[in-house]
């Protein structure tokens, strides 16, 4: 279990580390922890699997990756793990999630492709369909057109 200080710390590091000589000391000051305590707690939170990764979070769009497609697929329940693992073998697939189907939205596997432009993403999608044998699978392709919000989550404990 994590305590209130851990939740505050996770919110701080999800928001971002300051770019200065002693970032962990600065964060510690905000929430009443010493630098060494901050480092110890983050190390522990990482071991517990509470942190997927710590590092630079890039803005793909500014770096020339202007096209981003979310593709949702209707995959038989029993095949989901296999198909997802096949998808992740392709370097341009950046995320892969299983989510529940809805009557209005009967898709259960979500993947994301970040690419330099739509033409490239469409070519990568064509490769994905071939490599993962998804020609007959129902899907929807959703390119993102505008980002209204992108930031780290705010965590609270009661």
């Amino acid at each position: 279990m994590i305590d209130h200080k851990d939740a505050l710390l996770l919110t701080q590091i999800a928001k971002g580390l300051p770019i200065c000589s002693h970032p962990y000391a600065v964060i510690g000051e905000r929430i009443g922890l010493s630098e060494s305590e901050v480092i110890k707690r983050i190390t522990h939170l990482q071991k517990m699997g509470m942190i997927k990764r710590l590092g630079i979070i890039v803005k793909h769009a500014t770096l020339g990756y202007r096209a981003n497609a979310m593709i949702v697929w209707r995959i038989p329940e029993a095949d989901i793990d296999f198909v997802a693992q096949e998808m992740l073998k392709l370097s341009f697939v950046t995320l892969c999630y299983q989510r529940p189907m809805r009557p209005e939205w009967p898709y259960n596997l979500y993947c994301m492709i970040h690419g330099k432009n739509k033409t490239k993403v469409n070519a990568q999608l064509a490769q994905l369909i071939e490599d993962c044998n998804l020609r007959e699978v129902e899907k929807q392709i959703l390119f993102s057109s505008r980002c209204f919000k992108q930031r780290g989550a705010v965590y609270t404990t009661t």
Partner: protein, 154 residues
Amino acid sequence: MLKLSDLQKKLLNDFQRNFPLTPKPYADIAKQLGVSENDVLDALNELDEKHCISRIGAIIPPNQIGVSTLAAMSVPENEIERVAAQINQYTEVNHNYEREHEVNLWFVLIAQNAAHLDNVITSIETESGYPVLRFPLIKEFFIDLSFHLDLTND
């Protein structure tokens, strides 16, 4: 395409994960790359100012703390900015994207418990006048590697 220094390209590709957990992490990165701490701080500050990085921070897996869900709405084009602004008011919302589809507004919410998450979604439905579809995570398939950025100018 922006002009990036070799140091900036290295930082962007090699430090998306395993950021040093040491008192002076930027100095340790500098040592690894054979430059000074100030070189690294300057390079990162410039990447930040040019909006090349969102932040240097942690990605927390969904549902580790609190409850989260992906949500979606179908909103007429001329209403989308109003509805997006209403959604963004909530601190529980951390991502909100327009996508080219009839189901065009996609956002992620995180709250301390299911009841609170429910309340926020109900409020969004009432304020916007449109129903919200909920797609909570069932399973995340992990990738071990960082996304490799091709930073050549083509």
